[in-house]
């Protein structure tokens, strides 16, 4: 389909690689000027405290800086410019209004050590956000302190530890995870001081309840599951799973990275989930920023509430207060309140939704994923049968595509102006391509993506070498990743 490769948005004018800022530097050139102090540092500090050599930073005009970073930005694919079907990452539209509102001076200039009386607006928003998250998830309380999903997982793990310790049960040293889990699950469990037990998924990609039961018992502190799972399927037996975990005295943790499939449809509290995290930078539309900042709110049932991190926001006689007087709290996870600016954006997004429109988020996310799968599964087979939730996991079969692998398909997609899906994850699917369109993509954009994937499949049969060397139209061609690790060059 040659017209796919000549769409005007692909290369409005070709973006070229840039020199480093330091390579554009000219001695003596200045950018921002601050008012003159008139007094050198030596008048306030003794000589032994003074820096001897200036830091090696670029010397640029303001215009140089603006042009440099503007041109760097043009080397990126982003949601605002490209379809970005990155599975498990929920790359949905990030509403512009939320960027504007969290930057209002009243929010942006608030010092985190300001007394509560001076921060009532922010505290009210945070209190409201916590209540909304509780309602959506069917849980009793949320902490907003964790800075990202992995930080939230680790928080949840400490909550489980504190819960069991409070009951005087010190024998629970294990956390059970699925072999399809995100790498952060076992890493967070290890950071929380637990041994990690990995359970093999069943033939349908879901948790095998019989297999799970063999691995849980009096040593199990927590069963950690992503729901829907990373293969894009709901755990149909979730009530049996939670009952089995609870029967042996363990708690159930839900990794809510894929909550976009459930928002407005079902409440994790109803499945027997005890602890879960939500990624504000996924389901709740806050932008990913090229790798953060995010925020990873953690919700719990009533029994776990006493252990939540402090401070928490409480409403007392019409006044919002930050309270730290919780004797069983696991403590602080970081300095200050949390990634408040991210949380404010999530709050704004939620306030624009009714129960009906929240449900449409999940429904259209599920619709889009199934529509993409229906258009592709004859060429890129789905490992597991049936319909998917918000994402589908397909695969490339190098045996039938001239040795073309998923990596090659992913790189060739970049030539067609699409960000690649998540590749080689989950680990249990061979040559995995994990596709998550999200609800904010139109049918037309999925049609184009499907057409591109099909065109690539045809190219694989005709000219596999073309794909193995892709991409051909990006500012750089395929990279030598091994060389980068062998001789690290990580700074100027």
């Amino acid at each position: 389909m040659p017209e796919l490769l000549t769409r005007t948005e692909l290369n409005p004018c070709k973006a070229e690689p840039q020199k480093l800022s330091i390579e554009k530097s000219a001695a003596g050139r200045r950018g921002l000027r601050l008012p003159a102090s008139g007094r050198p540092a030596g008048e306030h500090l003794p000589a032994e405290q003074l820096r001897k050599t200036a830091p090696k930073l670029p010397e640029l005009s303001e215009f140089d800086v603006v042009r440099h970073y503007t041109n760097l930005s043009r080397l990126n694919f982003s949601l605002d410019t490209h379809f970005y079907p990155l599975g498990s990452c929920t790359m949905k539209y990030n509403p512009k209004i939320n960027e504007e509102l969290c930057a209002l001076p009243g929010f942006a200039a608030a010092h985190p050590a300001a007394p509560d009386s001076a921060a009532q607006g922010t505290l009210e928003a945070m209190h409201n956000l916590e209540k909304l998250l509780c309602e959506i998830c069917g849980l009793s309380a949320f902490t907003l302190q964790p800075s990202a999903g992995a930080h939230g997982e680790w928080c949840g793990i400490l909550l489980a530890r504190a819960y069991h310790a409070k009951r005087g049960d010190a024998a629970r040293t294990e956390i059970v995870v699925a072999d399809s889990s995100h790498g952060t699950n076992p890493a967070s469990a290890a950071l929380g001081g637990f041994n990690v037990i990995t359970v093999k998924s069943g033939p349908d990609g879901r948790v095998d309840v019989a297999e799970l039961k063999k691995h849980i018992g009096p040593r199990t502190a927590l069963v950690m599951l992503t729901i829907p799972g990373t293969v894009g399927l709901f755990e149909t037996e979730i009530c049996k799973i939670s009952a089995a975990a609870h029967a042996v005295g363990a708690l159930l943790y839900m990794d809510g990275a894929n909550f976009n499939a459930l928002i407005g449809l079902a409440k994790p509290g109803d499945f027997g989930v005890d602890i879960m995290h939500l990624n504000m930078h996924k389901t709740f539309s806050t932008p990913h920023g090229g790798g953060g900042p995010g925020a990873g709110a953690v919700g719990v049932t009533k029994a776990l509430e006493p252990f939540l991190p402090a401070p928490r926001v409480a409403l007392e006689n019409g006044v919002y207060r930050t309270k730290s007087d919780y004797p069983d709290s696991i403590g602080r996870l970081r300095a200050f309140f949390g990634n408040t600016g991210v949380l404010l954006r999530a709050y704004c997004w939620l306030r624009q939704h009714s129960p009906e429109t929240l449900r449409l988020v999940a429904e259209n996310a599920i619709l889009n994923a199934n529509y993409a799968m229906a258009g592709l599964k004859d060429l890129f087979p789905a490992q597991y049968g049936g319909w998917c939730m918000h994402e589908c996991v397909l695969s490339t079969d190098p045996a039938t595509t001239g040795g073309v692998r998923t990596l090659d398909v992913a790189k060739r997609l970049l030539d067609y102006g699409f960000h690649a899906p998540t590749v080689y994850f989950p680990l249990i699917v061979h040559e995995a391509l994990m596709i998550e369109p999200t609800e904010t993509e139109s049918r037309e954009s999925i049609d184009l993506f499907v057409a591109a994937m099909r065109a690539i499949h045809a190219e694989a049969l005709e000219n596999p070498e073309l794909l193995k060397k892709a991409p051909h139209t990006r500012p750089v061609k395929r990279l030598d990743e091994v060389g980068a690790a062998r001789q690290p060059d990580i700074r100027w």
Partner: protein, 443 residues
């Protein structure tokens, strides 16, 4: 809300999928779990949301701010805001597909280089959540590197950082903390010498929570003599004029990067800066960007040394961190590029000038004195004639946040106020603070 589907779209898409109704797609969710009712406030349209948010923002007091304590009010250049709000940066994901992410990747490389330049260290990662978690990761690395279990902390370490460390290491009963007194404002060298024996690391906060600059060479000498690593926590805004951690032989240096162009924003998102000597490269937590070549031999950027990370190593990873603070790291990079070496020096000089001028004005007030001696950077402890928290609250009436009362940290400091003056404070601002302190102290 933000979903583009028309009724016709849905109908045709369901047909293409091969189901007669959407409900068929949901069969994998048990029926009884799909009956939830959601009790939410009425949805707001965009104009209504804007009004609601403006109303909330207006409930926060706009104060003349002299609070620091780990979060600092600095001037944020317009070009910083403009560049970091570009959609191509804001709405990109982690740069896993390097060929489609060279902008973000080069920016990370420039960030790492900026951190190394400011700190005079060898290697930096792509960012961590904030200063407190960066310190926790640094301590964790020191424990791994040395195989020892004792961590030496200064009394004058940000109390929130101390609490974060306690949380991080609570699961590991072997880890112990020894706290060294800072009775004179800085570390007691004799006590440090004792505490440092058998320690994995000595944490040096420079400036410390009282604003004081330490005798970093002496602290470093003591740590090294005891076989401990030196972990420095610094303020990056000071480093245009104040010595960098590399110059006193720090093994790992961390900082809260918020002063470099990030809004106060009631606590976040901020920026955890982390750098170390090159021999500790493989203990660095989180992402690292490196230079490589493409098929044509052209220079390019890519995430590298990933064998340390959770998505490869799972439970054996150096850290569990995944999403970090990439956009905040970009902010700091653009900020430092705009200021350059001369601007960073001027920034530090202006902060020194403002803080020392503020201290002089306050010291001249009856009943007030500066608790600890020089040298300090942009904040200092004021001993007030009465309870500092009450005085702080009284000044709120005049629209002034006078500082952070230290009574919660140590009851012997209940009359003490941590006061910060950055380059944003003009002589008129300092006079307003002094006048208000005089007025309310006598009231």
């Amino acid at each position: 809300m933000y979903t583009p589907h028309t009724d016709k779209d849905r109908e045709e898409m369901l047909k293409a999928i091969g189901v007669s109704s959407f409900e068929e797609l949901l069969r994998q969710i048990p029926q009884e779990l799909r009956k939830s009712k959601f009790n939410l406030p009425p949805a707001l349209t965009e104009p209504e949301l804007a009004a609601h948010a403006a109303e909330l923002a207006a409930k926060n007091s706009r104060l003349l701010n002299f609070a620091g304590g780990g979060a600092y009010e600095h001037y944020i250049p317009a070009a910083v805001r403009a560049l970091v709000s570009r959609g191509e940066f804001v709405t990109a994901y982690t740069p896993y597909q390097a060929e489609a992410s060279q902008g973000t990747l080069q920016a990370i490389y420039e960030y790492q280089s900026t951190v190394c330049a400011l700190f005079e260290m060898d290697a930096s990662n792509a960012s961590l959540y904030d200063g407190a978690t960066a310190l926790a990761e640094a301590v964790n690395a020191a424990l791994r590197i040395t195989g020892k279990t004792k961590v030496v902390l200064p009394q004058a370490l940000n109390p929130q950082y101390k609490r974060t460390l306690q949380t991080y290491f609570a699961p590991n009963r072997a880890v112990s903390f020894a706290e060294v007194s800072c009775k004179t404002g800085v570390l007691d060298a004799a006590a440090l010498e004792t505490a440092a024996q058998d320690a994995a690391c000595v944490v040096l906060a420079n400036p410390n929570y009282f604003g004081c600059l330490e005798d970093a060479d002496e602290v470093s000498r003591i740590a090294k003599a005891a076989g401990a690593l030196l972990v420095a926590v610094v303020n990056p805004a000071s480093l245009g004029a104040v010595r960098a951690p590399g110059s006193y032989n720090a093994d790992i240096a961390v900082a809260e990067g918020q002063p470099l162009g990030l809004a106060l924003g009631y606590g976040g998102p901020y920026l955890g800066m982390f750098a170390c000597k090159k021999e500790h490269l493989r203990h660095i937590p989180g992402r690292i960007c490196g230079i490589t070549k493409d098929l044509d031999g052209k220079r390019a950027f890519v995430l590298t040394l990933q064998a340390r990370e959770q998505h490869i190593r799972r439970e054996k990873a150096a850290s569990n961190i995944c999403s970090n603070e990439a956009l905040c790291a970009l902010t700091a990079t653009v900020y430092c590029a705009l200021l350059g070496p001369a601007g960073m020096r001027e920034l530090a000089e202006l902060n020194l000038e403002a803080a020392h001028s503020a201290a002089d004005k306050i010291a001249a007030l009856k009943g007030f004195k500066i608790k600890f001696g020089k040298p300090y950077f942009n904040e200092f402890v004021v001993e007030c004639p009465g309870d500092a928290a009450q005085l702080r609250d009284a000044l709120l009436q005049d629209g002034i946040l006078a500082g952070i009362p230290l009574g919660d940290m140590d009851s012997s400091l209940k009359n003490c106020l941590l006061v910060c003056a950055t380059e944003t404070k003009t002589p008129a601002c300092l006079d307003a603070l002094a006048a208000a302190l005089r007025k309310h102290a006598n009231a």
